[in-house]
Symmetry: C2
Subunit: 264 residues, 2 copies
């Protein structure tokens, strides 16, 4: 995987370089993306997909037959769904009044470079582990500075708990325990790295124990998006890929089940 990623990276830069040399290049040059590899970062949404339990508010996804081939000659379903189920995008209006809704996020901000910061080792020892500014520094020493306008994904290895109780991690006091970004890390990424958004392989990008959703507020005040329950982050390179956050364009939505795709 690593070698393949490096080769892809080399080709990417070779093409950029060659494109830069040719006189046939139009003036409105954008980004050249090689698609040697496509990885789906989306979990399949089903009725048993875990979600943040908020008493009297949240509920699981349900597929409800609306018409069947047998009875109606056509198969179709209704969905019982809310905006924060499955692999989904959070829009800034989720916590901040008068901020952008999901349909107001621009595609140029949803198709961006992606980096993956791996905190699996410390998360495996502590469900409340957080990605810190120091983790970002360590990442940058190994992989170079986070590119401008990128999506920064946290990989905690939590995906392996998707079908067990650790994914939500409720303790006897009904407090959640799963890793997340520290608020300082989010503040740093917004202020010092001009990110497009962030993502996590857990239910929420604030650690489960933070019931105030501090990082959500920091991120959304800055008008940035977040993606949660992201799949397969161990199957893409740490840097060099592009992520397509295909959020559903629902008017005034605060979030929504999304198709998230990495290409490189």
């Amino acid at each position: 995987m690593k070698m393949k990623a490096i080769l892809s990276g080399i080709t990417f830069f070779v093409i950029i370089f060659l494109a830069g040399c040719t006189r046939e290049q139009p003036k409105d040059v954008g980004t050249t993306i090689r698609i040697d590899n496509i990885v789906d970062l989306t979990h399949t949404l089903t009725s048993d997909f875990p979600f943040i339990p908020v008493k009297k508010l949240t509920y699981p996804f349900a597929l409800i037959p609306m018409a069947t081939l047998k009875d109606n000659g056509v198969e179709a379903n209704s969905w019982k769904i809310h905006e924060h189920l499955g692999t989904h995008t959070d829009a800034p209006n989720h916590f901040i009044a008068n901020q952008k809704s999901l349909d107001q996020l621009e595609l140029k901000d949803l198709i961006v470079p992606v980096v993956v910061i791996d905190i699996e080792e410390k998360a495996s020892k502590n469900s409340d582990a957080v990605l810190t500014v120091e983790d970002i520094m360590t990442f940058e020493k190994a992989f170079g500075k986070i590119p401008d306008h990128a999506c920064v994904m946290m990989y905690s290895g939590w995906e392996k708990h998707l079908r067990d109780s650790l994914f939500v991690g409720l303790d006897s006091q009904q407090v959640k325990h799963y890793p997340g970004f520290s608020n300082d890390a989010i503040k740093f990424l917004v202020e010092e790295r001009n990110i497009a958004g962030i993502g996590v392989d857990v239910l929420s990008f604030d650690p489960g124990i933070d019931e105030n959703y501090t990082g959500h507020k920091t991120l959304f005040e800055a008008g940035k998006w977040g993606v949660e329950c992201v799949a397969n982050l161990d199957k893409i390179p740490k840097t060099g890929a592009t992520v397509i956050v295909a959020a559903p364009k629902v008017g005034k939505a605060t979030g929504g089940f999304s198709r998230i795709i990495a290409v490189w």
Copy 2:
């Protein structure tokens, strides 16, 4: 727009050619996509978005507040939604038993070249106009053979009727009138052009008058997908762009509201 598209096309081929010459190229070469241009082919979904009226079955989209900043400190909504609302993808299991569901469509079949066949002139004179095999031939004479594994979009200009009664086009007998693909054209595209899928700027890819959905059955028997209520098809080049059909990965779904994006 035309000139820009031609320039983009030239650059695309120049890059493909240069990439072909370099020795640094890895063996797992895929597709190089330039992103000079991004166009959103998705309509914003709101409660007044038109839909196919099927008595006692279908209903419009609704956004239902679940939590508010004022009462709960967080804003979130439930959606009243079914699988065939707004700009959406149809999966083959919509009409054919044991065919692929939406979550079973592979990403390699959803990120494909796109061509646009324009039948606006005849559609403007006849709401029941269909895209025929002859229209495909005329298109290919002008723009070259439809590439392998492409999405073939029909542009009828119907988008301008989105907010008037012509979009559904119900007559006094409650029969619908809007343009579509002829069944023969779909058969030809599946059998002779190895398409990935088709798309339309109207409610359904069968013309409104065909209450048997003949073309749906032909397309889905072949395991291909269709996209409906596609936006902005007049804003992308007739050939040379790539479409990303970001269908929601819902287990067993027959379709679903999708983010559809063209890049070139």
